[in-house]
Every structure is written in structure tokens, then in C-alpha cells.
Subunit: 288 residues, 2 copies
Amino acid sequence: MFDSFSLLAVGMPDLSVLQYSIVDNIFSMTVATMGAAAIFLFLSRPSVDEAYRPALMVSGLVVTIACYHYFMIRHSWSDAYMLAEGGEGYVGTGAAFNDFYRYADWILTVPLLMVELIAVLRLQASKARSLLTRLVIAAALMIALGYPGEVISSPEGWTTRVIWGALSSVPFFYILYVLWTELTASLDSQPAAARKLIEIARLVLLITWAVYPIAYALGGTVTALEAKAGGAVDAGGIVGLQVGYAIADMTAKAGFGMLIYFIARAKSTGVQNSVVGKSAESPEVAAT
Amino acid sequence: MFDSFSLLAVGMPDLSVLQYSIVDNIFSMTVATMGAAAIFLFLSRPSVDEAYRPALMVSGLVVTIACYHYFMIRHSWSDAYMLAEGGEGYVGTGAAFNDFYRYADWILTVPLLMVELIAVLRLQASKARSLLTRLVIAAALMIALGYPGEVISSPEGWTTRVIWGALSSVPFFYILYVLWTELTASLDSQPAAARKLIEIARLVLLITWAVYPIAYALGGTVTALEAKAGGAVDAGGIVGLQVGYAIADMTAKAGFGMLIYFIARAKSTGVQNSVVGKSAESPEVAAT
């Protein structure tokens, strides 16, 4: 099980020019989005109360780390492929695409995502510590159990991939369950202005996180694995997996970071102005 | 219509050394302009009232994202060409120039341009929200409908290109109409010092945005498409398109961002000094 090949993907499926370019371009857009979000979150710290600046700091770190990894992911993608002779498609160069960049990103950023959420909620310290411990352990398990399935590159490995995916889903659902119930429980202790936003955050969390298992499944169909193994079949599933992960990462990190910012603004005293519109009717103040 | 080649440009027309270099250099200048504008807008935030800092933040993000994309655009241009044997011109390497960078940039920045304008006007929140929703939907349509025409690479596709261009023009004119009328309507509620600047912004918007369809048209003449398809004709239209887009992007993003800064200064209380000149003669104060 732990020979060198089972922990690294080996097959790069043939892709059409369009398929290759969709993935290449979504990676580039993700770099731009994460980078812009990082600047926004870091520079916005003085606009919220001191108590909420750590939440923005951590949110900024999450998107910075993701910006770096998507830059590397894109390079790895570009190194793994070359234009086929005649220019009618892309074929593997022999270098494997490094799936581990994304898992390295998740190992670093998923715990930080938990921290930014708990920091902005400002729960009691003992409660926050216990929650974080459980969530971080679950996140580590979720990522570690997903990876061996991710790198399977042959249709015979389908069952094994499904098993790893299912194992990874246990901590995945546990995290979602804990966050959903904690966010719900925290609503009463939050200022009215922030409640609506926390409800939105709860929903965004559920929807964006749901994309990850879907992307994992798209890249793990028997056809997708046949394509990875070098079969002359449509590699659309592989494209779906990469695009799905990129979109989910943009929403769960940059989009979620923006929500953290809006919650921090809503909970800050003396913040009168929203990004758009006059204070009296700004969304933050309207709910008070 | 959606086969792999219709969504990606394929032909790189032969260019003279001058033609290649004009495009290469204008891309480089655009990187420098956008980067400098980003630093200016971010660092100027403390110089305006808290209420106008989000407008400068968003303006800074727009030029940051554009800086990244022009850097990538320039690389793609350089990857797509090589010096012909004998050094008498540039010929395609086989790698296609990635038109999608520019469209990815527009997808991210055009909505943000709407946000920065509305943020600096400080309309009522409900009004701002309704405006933004309409403008962002129209911007998405405009960009999505322009792209399939942009990547057409054969003279036979001329009619199709014109149709996509015409479809894209509908939301384009809608956006300009809405912004023009809203800017005009907002004049009465703006402080006297900002009115003149908003009138200038209205005009700048109209003039710079007019360059986009002109550039699109230059790159879509039958001759330009023949050049793209590999015909031995003058590729001046392709150069015109790239230069036109770059100039329009510099003005509509960096130039417009500067205007947003001046409007924010004019509307800030206690701002006595303009960038150049003494307070008594500064444009902001002169109009009061």
C-alpha cells in the first residue's frame, strides 16, 4: 500500500485543447482571486475593532497560502502537459501533476478556516479551545483519508478510491455538523447586526463544502480513472474535478473571508459605513 | 458551435518586428501603470475619510488584478511568437495566445469597477444594491457574449463574430446608459466640490468604454481574421485590437481609479491639500 506509486498520481489523461485550457485558466483566475482577497483582508484590518483583527489576519493568511499553492498547481499542470503533435490536443509529458499541492494547501488552510470562523464569533475561550481541537483533528483526518483515493490512477482502483472517499466523508460530515450546530447556537449571543450574516455564512459553508465531494466523485468515476490510466476515453471527469475544487476553494476561502470581514464589520462598534450605501440603510446597521 | 476550437483562438498571424514589439511594449507599460496605480490607491486610503476608503480599496484591487493579468498576457504573447528565421518578422510558435486572460480579468474587474463607482457616490444602500445587481448581471452578459466572437480565427467566421459582438453590445450600452443617467441623477446630492469631478468621470467613462468596441472591431475585420487564419495579409487589425484594449484598460481602470480618488478627496471633510498645488487653489476647494 505504501509503495511509491500508490501515493502519487502517475497517469495524465489526454485532453482536448479546450479541456486543458479550461483547467489552466481556472487555476490562473484562482491565483488572481486569492491574491486580491489577501490584499483586501490584510488592508481591512484597521477598519474593524481590535477584537476582530485576528479573524481578518487569519482569513488573509488562508487566501495567501491558497494563492501560492494555486500558482504552484498551475505550474505543475503546465509541466505535466504538452501540446500534441499537430496541435490537436494535449498529452502528458511524463511528469505527473502534483495533487499534493492542493492537499498541502488544505492541511494548512482548513484548520485556519476554523480559526477565522471561531475568532470572529468570539466564543468563550474554553469553548473555543475545545471546539478548535475537535475541528482541527477532524480536518486533518478528512484530508489525510482523502489523499490516498485522490492519487489512484487506474479503473481497478475504483473501489479503493470510493472507500477512502467514504472514510474521508466521516470527519467531513462531522465538521459540517459541528459548525452548523455551533453557528446556530451562537446566534443568540451575537449582536443583531451580525445575525443575518452568520446565517448566510452557515449556508455558504454548507453549499461550498458540498462541492468538494462532488468534485472528488467526478474525478473518480470509472471513465475518469480509465482516462488517467491512459485509456482513449473522455477525460471530462478530470476537468470537472479540477474546476470543481478551484471554484470550491475560491468560494470557501476568498468568499468566506469576505463574509468574515462583513461579520467583523457588523460586530465592530463605531463602524458606520458599509462598502456601498449610506450608513442609515447599510446592511450592517439596518438589522439593529 | 461549442466544439473545442470555437472557444479558443488558434491562429497567430505573422507579424513584423515592429508590430510584435508594439504589442509587447504596450503590455509591459500596462503592467507598470496598473502596478503603480495599485500602490497609489492602497496607500492613499488614510488620506480620505473612512467612508470613502472602501472605494479606494476596491479601485486598488481592480488595478492589482489587471496588473497580474497583463503580466500573464505579456507572457502568453511572448510564448505564442518567435523570431522568424532571418529575423525579418515574428511567426507563431504553435502555442495560442491566451485571449481568456483578458476576459478573466474583465469578469473579475468590471463588477468591481461598478462597486468602486457606487461606493464613492455613496447612494442610499437599497438604491446601491438594486443598481449593482443590474450592472453586475449586465457586465457578466457583456463579457460572456463577447468572448465567443473574440476567439474566432477565420474569415468565414466574420458574420458569427459580428453577431456575438452585437449581442455583447446590448448589455454594454445598457451599462453605459444606466451609469450615465445615475451619475447625472446623483449630481444634485453630491457636494459642490465633487460635482465637476463626477461630470468628468461620466465623460471619461463614455470615452474610454467606447474604445472597447472599436478595438473589438479592429481585430475582427475580414483582413484581420485572414491574418489570424494564416493568410499573408497585413495583421495591423490584430495589433490595433491589442493596443486598443490595453489603452482602454489603462484608462478605464488606472485613470478611472485616480478619478475615484479625486472624488473621494473632494467629498472628504478636512482635506485641505491636493496632490499638486496649495490648498487655496486645489481643484477640490476651488469649486466650493
